[in-house]
């Protein structure tokens, strides 16, 4: 546990000692801020309440998904690929650390960065409440479940990113592979709107991140997507650990 904390701190330091943390957070804040501005400008009215605005920001194909999908590989591509490229993987793995500790600490650091990036956006509903003339008290629960969805999606997609990074020694290849995997997952979840075949429709609906997030943001906390993302994350991280162990034999 102590070793894991040491590794995690080193990972966090790596984000903040390189430009990644600053560049990605600046652009992330710019994009989410601009989205917020657009959503409020376009939609906000007497009929369109704060949860509706948050629904746009946390699930719409225009204001949420591009931002979400863009940021994942930025956070994960360096995790293993950089260490492999520079050779530091050799000093890392010959220290008395387990593969599990290494993988989990890298994943936890990426997740922590991811949550740090989303954290400022959680001020939006409160800002709106203060500055709008809406009289009804803010219903916090749909917003909270919307963020629960972001957390679950983040966990799963970031773990996929970490796996892709562990597969290659090039950050660019890792990023491209992550985009490809996320593309398959995300668009696979949209196929159900076009296909009539029952089985494919079922599968597509079951893995549909888009549908899941739409429900979460409306305050519907279903156990199925929670199980799906939690078990998916565990499975992908386990695969990453096995992949690293396989190199050691």
């Amino acid at each position: 546990m102590f070793v894991q904390l040491t590794l995690w701190r080193r990972e966090m330091a790596a984000y903040f000692l390189s430009p990644i943390a600053y560049v990605s957070s600046i652009f992330f804040l710019l994009i989410t801020g601009f989205n917020f501005y657009l959503v409020v400008g376009l939609f906000y009215s007497k009929e369109y309440t704060i949860p509706d605005v948050m629904e746009q920001l946390l699930s719409s194909p225009l204001f949420f998904w591009p931002t979400f999908l863009l940021i994942v590989p930025v956070l994960t591509m360096r995790t293993f690929a950089e260490e492999k490229h520079s050779g530091t993987i050799e000093t890392l793995m010959t220290a008395p650390v387990t593969e599990r500790a290494v993988v989990l600490s890298k994943f936890m650091a990426a997740l922590a960065m991811f949550l740090c990036l989303w954290l400022p956006t959680s001020a939006y509903p409160f800002l709106l409440e203060v500055f709008s003339e809406e009289v009804a008290p803010l219903d916090i629960w749909p917003v909270a479940s919307g963020y629960l969805g972001v957390l679950l999606l983040g966990m799963f997609y970031l773990s996929v990113g970490v796996l892709c990074s562990a597969l290659t020694g090039s950050q660019v290849v890792a990023a491209i592979a992550t985009y490809a995997m996320m593309g398959i997952l995300f668009f696979g979840g949209l196929v159900h709107t076009y296909v009539a075949a029952d089985l494919i429709r079922e599968i597509s609906l079951y893995i549909s991140s888009f549908e899941h997030q739409q429900k979460f943001v409306r305050g519907i906390v279903d156990s199925r997507p929670i199980v799906f993302y939690a078990s998916g994350t565990v499975l992908v991280l386990f695969a990453t650990i096995r992949l690293l162990e396989g190199r050691r034999g």
Binding site: T6, R10, G87, T88, E90, T91, T94, A95, R247
Partner: protein, 316 residues
């Protein structure tokens, strides 16, 4: 008990055998040099010893533990410096060593003092606050060495510790390694021959994944030349000198050259005889004058060339 015990180690990559069926032992406190041309399997062997790569076949025991089964425990007792000395360029020297010390499980109380010790040993005190990426190659190499030493391991595995350094830096690193020799067992690889002669007590020569020789540098030199050679410069009657020296016991061959009034002889004799004593006595008995008497040592360079270029004349 041997600290390293390698039996029939084999490592195959797809389509290529990097290490084929090598066996060797290293006793505690020894400094052993791995010598071999590039691609001989030095780095592969060291990576297997350090637990970074799995072996294809054979047994590797370090401190009585099996590398394939108790890798984690073994890694606590090994200090490993990989070939290219990889470091995190964005970290500061003391920060990096602190991180590595924590990673290697050094208890909090000992950490500070131990980091201070290795900083001092490796001559890094002045640069301890500098960012690693801004350091010269020599300093970076020392940071790598400090990292290998920070948990005070019993066994140090150093892969090409002096590569890319200038002669002064090489000498410094060499001295440092020599200073460490009392307390640690050291296995180092290099393809720089004088380095092995300067530091190592024993040399393992690898070629094409096989150990072709294993002995002290001096003995290896003897094996290759098959004889010892002595140079003597004597003043006296040339023919008389040559005939007398040729008749000495143990002398195989004498070649001579005149240098003014001096006769310069190159005498080769059987291994195990000390020709110098006999020559000196002859000179005294005949009342000649002697101005030089020395043995020509066969360098490891000769050994290396003979053993790794496919030249078999002195193997066996």
């Amino acid at each position: 008990m041997d600290i390293i015990d390698v039996k029939n180690l084999t490592k195959r990559y797809p389509g290529r055998t990097a290490v084929s069926d090598i066996s060797f032992r290293v006793a505690p406190g020894e400094i052993v040099g791995f010598l071999g041309p590039n691609g001989a399997g030095k780095t592969t062997t060291m990576r297997i010893l350090s637990g970074f790569l799995p072996a294809t076949g054979g047994d590797v025991n370090i401190g009585g533990r099996d590398v394939s089964k108790q890798s984690l425990e073994i890694r606590r007792h090994i200090g490993y410096l990989p070939e290219s000395c990889p470091l995190y360029p964005e970290m500061r020297v003391s920060e990096y060593l602190g991180y590595r010390a924590r990673l290697k499980g050094l208890p909090r109380g000992r950490r500070k003092e131990r980091i201070r010790t290795v900083l001092e040993m490796c001559g890094l005190l002045d640069v301890r606050r500098r960012v690693i990426g801004h350091l010269s190659k020599g300093y970076r190499q020392r940071v790598g060495l400090a990292d290998a030493l920070v948990h005070d391991p019993e066994l140090l595995i150093l892969d090409e510790p002096t590569i890319g350094l200038d002669p002064n830096q090489i000498r410094e690193i060499r001295n440092l390694i020599r200073d460490l020799s009392g307390k640690h067992t050291i296995l180092l690889s290099t393809h720089i021959l004088p380095e092995v002669e300067a530091i190592c007590e024993r040399v393992l020569i690898l070629d094409k994944g096989k150990i072709v020789a294993s002995d002290t540098p001096e003995n290896l030199a003897g094996i290759v030349s098959g004889s010892i050679r002595v140079v003597a410069e004597i003043k006296g009657l040339q023919s008389e000198i040559i005939n007398t020296v040729k008749a000495l016991p143990g002398v195989n061959n004498v070649s001579d050259r005149l240098e003014g009034a001096w006769v310069k002889l190159e005498v080769s004799g059987k291994l195990g005889t000390d020709l110098r004593q006999n020559i000196f006595q002859t000179v005294v008995e005949n009342k000649w004058t002697l101005r030089e008497l020395r043995t020509i040592s066969t360098t490891l360079e000769d050994v290396f060339g003979a053993l790794t270029s496919g030249d078999n004349r002195s193997r066996g």
